[in-house]
Symmetry: C2
Subunit: 207 residues, 2 copies
């Protein structure tokens, strides 16, 4: 029953990360998390924390990375669902909302630290969201939009979806369906608005 050093170290590191994630909630943001609290939850001495992270910010960056990864995986899942047939917009919103319902704290972390108090975290979150936007931009470009309006479209869509997600967090479960439906409507607005603008630009009506 001997474990290698590297393995043990990785375990503890994970314990810290998981402890932090476990403590996040509607009433406890990452910013209001203390090193000692995290260490306690992870069953290590406060000072042992330093063996793994320089300070809380470094842990925060790690968390944002993980959460961003989770988000990207979700979108991959959405894409697979779409390939199997189904409205792009509806399926995407649906998948996203499921994600938020199943792990609200991950979304909370990203959403809250986006306007957070430490510059490092803020830009890290911004980067994660940019991945999102860029991916969507590429997709829209592939459908035949110029880059600029594709980006505008993608950004607006992400803003709307995130907004719906945030609403969903504090909403009673009964309202969630309605929020999702509204988000779909809003995305359709954006999509057909953009389409119309493209039509105007190319000075022809095309399907």
């Amino acid at each position: 029953m001997t474990v290698s050093r590297a393995e043990q170290k990785e375990r503890t590191r994970r314990a810290i990360i998981d402890a932090a994630l476990r403590q996040l909630s509607a009433d406890k943001s990452f910013a209001s998390l203390s090193l000692r609290e995290v260490a306690r939850e992870a069953n290590i001495a406060p000072t042992s924390f330093y063996r793994h992270f320089k300070d809380m910010e470094e842990l925060g960056l790690t968390l944002v990375d993980e959460c961003g990864l989770a988000l990207r995986q979700i979108m991959r899942k959405a894409r697979k669902r779409i390939e199997k047939g189904g409205s792009v917009i509806y399926t995407s919103v649906q998948t996203f909302m499921e994600f938020i319902e199943s792990s609200p704290n991950i979304f909370r972390l990203l959403f809250h630290e986006r306007s957070g108090t430490t510059h490092g975290l803020r830009t890290a979150v911004a980067r994660e969201i940019q991945y999102f936007v860029v991916e969507l931009t590429d997709y829209i470009c592939a459908i035949g939009y110029d880059k600029e309006s594709a980006f505008a479209q993608a950004e607006a869509m992400v803003a709307v979806v995130f907004n719906a997600g945030a609403e969903s967090l504090d909403a009673k479960p009964g309202q969630r369906k309605q929020i999702a439906r509204r988000a779909v409507t809003q995305l359709r607005f954006i999509a057909s608005g953009a389409k119309q603008h493209r039509m105007i630009k190319t000075k022809g009506v095309r399907t």
Copy 2:
């Protein structure tokens, strides 16, 4: 040089509020503000704080009220500008962006506490934003949309504008114009998308 009690009390109250607002910045959210810090800045003893507010949350609610008020005043200003001629969308975005540039901390407070850690503040902010959305909804209804799609439209627009505002906060001054322009584009997408949906519903093409 005698001041009435009520007057003096009001002065101190304002001193506290202003002190709190003064301390808000990119690196200091309301949540990371301590009672003692605020009291220090307001030149009163920590314990005197309690003569005016039950606790920090009550101060927070007051701040949110004030900031919401400021926001609504801005929109009134925008409406006046519009009456004097000018694109609704462009003028609104422009006014909003000016507001953010001139008092970023007020916007930051609303934006950050929207996803904040205390339920009271969160709902207070949500209410302020709802005012915004509802006003816009009414306006859109008056142009001839049904309530539901008007609301969806308004909400999406506010989401997009707030998103642009948030971007603007961390952007270099040179990028701000571009962000504003993009926001205008995005709002136009939403507007013409919604219009098109209405046209489909009424089964006729109308201007």
